[in-house]
Symmetry: C2
Subunit: 364 residues, 2 copies
Amino acid sequence: MQKKSDGQSYAPRGKAVAVVAPGEFLVGVIGLDHGHIHGMCNGLSEAGAGIVLAWDPDPEKCRLFREAWPTVRIARDRDEILEAGNIRLIASAAVPGDRCDIGVAALESGHDFFVDKPPLITREQLERARATVGRTGRRWGVYYSERLHVESAVRAGELVKQGAIGRVVQVMGWGPHRAGVAARPDWFFDKSRYGGILVDIGCHQIEQILAYAGAEGAKITNSHVANFNHTAYPRFEDFGDVSLICDNGVAGYFRVDWFTPDGLGAWGDGRTLILGTDGYIEIRKYIDVAANAEGDHVFLVDHEGERHIEAAGTCGFPFFGQFIRDCIEHTGTAMTQSHAFAAIELAIEAQERAWKAGVGGFRS
Amino acid sequence: MQKKSDGQSYAPRGKAVAVVAPGEFLVGVIGLDHGHIHGMCNGLSEAGAGIVLAWDPDPEKCRLFREAWPTVRIARDRDEILEAGNIRLIASAAVPGDRCDIGVAALESGHDFFVDKPPLITREQLERARATVGRTGRRWGVYYSERLHVESAVRAGELVKQGAIGRVVQVMGWGPHRAGVAARPDWFFDKSRYGGILVDIGCHQIEQILAYAGAEGAKITNSHVANFNHTAYPRFEDFGDVSLICDNGVAGYFRVDWFTPDGLGAWGDGRTLILGTDGYIEIRKYIDVAANAEGDHVFLVDHEGERHIEAAGTCGFPFFGQFIRDCIEHTGTAMTQSHAFAAIELAIEAQERAWKAGVGGFRS
């Protein structure tokens, strides 16, 4: 069981299946602002990577990280990690607005980069990131955890690829999150630092839509954002949704919000619905509400009947091993670079053009 | 148990609670094209109305209707019903494109009107209907069955009104339907007669969004339609979705489709999600997939916990008795006239402006 009460400290563990020899693939960490860093390091270390060096400007964050990862040494400063000759990959869960600079520095110092979502938050950052990838030939991997680190989501992807529901027609997601306002740092409420709700947690959803649709890109046809009930934080957004049509004609929609009520036994009742010409899949990721406190439920309905598949422990998290091999072999098996950037580019576009919902009716 | 395998012949029954004396409120029926007429007559007769006269140009439809309603006499022609002095209300489930003419004739001959959704299919028809209501002072009631004739939907409405989830933030619906192509008449596939998917089954959804949001109107911000997999019927649409923002700032989204797979134990896995500032409600209307073949499940999550409420048999269908009293007393308790027309007006607007999804990518 993972800690499920808040998403920030939700760090899944899976089966260890090493794809490299001990010591072959070493990781340094720069930026410990988001708890996702633990999930990222879990995934990498289960695939054989060694998490060896870490640094954050806040010594307290460094101390806590070392408690969780006792083999890690805290670096003197950021540059010590960038200059470390034995480090292959730099991982980061810094404040979203600061991630791009770290990534550019990582690639330019000869490393691959693995960053929490959102991997960056503005168009200008995206251009710099793309240019740096182009110039260095290094990879800018993104921890889109809501598909990559959720076993029911992985299992659903396998089913779709096997043709279990025919051709995909629409992908629909809800990404509700528990705000837990009291435990959040200042940057959490400042759009100029987290990017807005569609960038921050919406990019997860767009990544999933593209992946399940088998699409390379999409046209955003609509988006809304609102601050319905967090008026003490005027730069915060507690609601957003997006409609899109993928380049292969598949439709997509998602809603994200920060309204998970205290009574839910998980940080969010995250779901994905994949509608096909010959069936549909519903993923209940973290809980089956009022039925089962455990997560990872896949509901598959096809022409034969209705099935409830408990996905936990069935397929693991192949992303991490594939990503490590991608870094070593310059392949794109875990995720292509263009897919990783397409998801955040569409999220930024949706954020920029969003209608405002909420108190006072709509405004553009 | 109702027949649940196709939506066309799904005609719920509830507790009989007469609001009028026997013989006080008599109903004539014109137009038997859609099986919804049985649900409409069930609701009216359970509330004390007498279904006494019926007519359709097709004698076979008349014969079958009389089998189901043996006390009904088949009229000589349409005019016999329009001219019958004892008839208070005329009900209709004619082909959608033909409903407006029947309604105008009904009101102009001194009757109230109760029509299957969609109550009409074009702006021109809407203008005529509104003008006729204005001129005659009669009512044009609409059988938006997916809220009015589904006990879990009624129960959810009560919970929302009681403040169970705080202020409503978003209402989201999926209205999947089983196509059952072989048993459908020609008009089912002809957009010029059924109005398009957003008019035909989308108006249900908009009605629900307005009702649960407590809104009087909305702005359609986006819509899509597609024919993904029924290419033998080029005038058919098997997918549609709509985003909107209500006049009180509440956001709304729904998807409708004709992709219910054969293996589902109901004609559609219809759901509604109502997100509030202090909780959320999920309605699983016709089935709890792979868990319970019966319908009418309300899931309520608030700050106290998670609850599964089995709504069947708990609240009945108050619409019908209220509607009969509205006709008699010229009130608007069951549904205001402006609400009934607002839902279809927004559905027509969404239909007109829809982007095309589906094979070949998007096009406007």
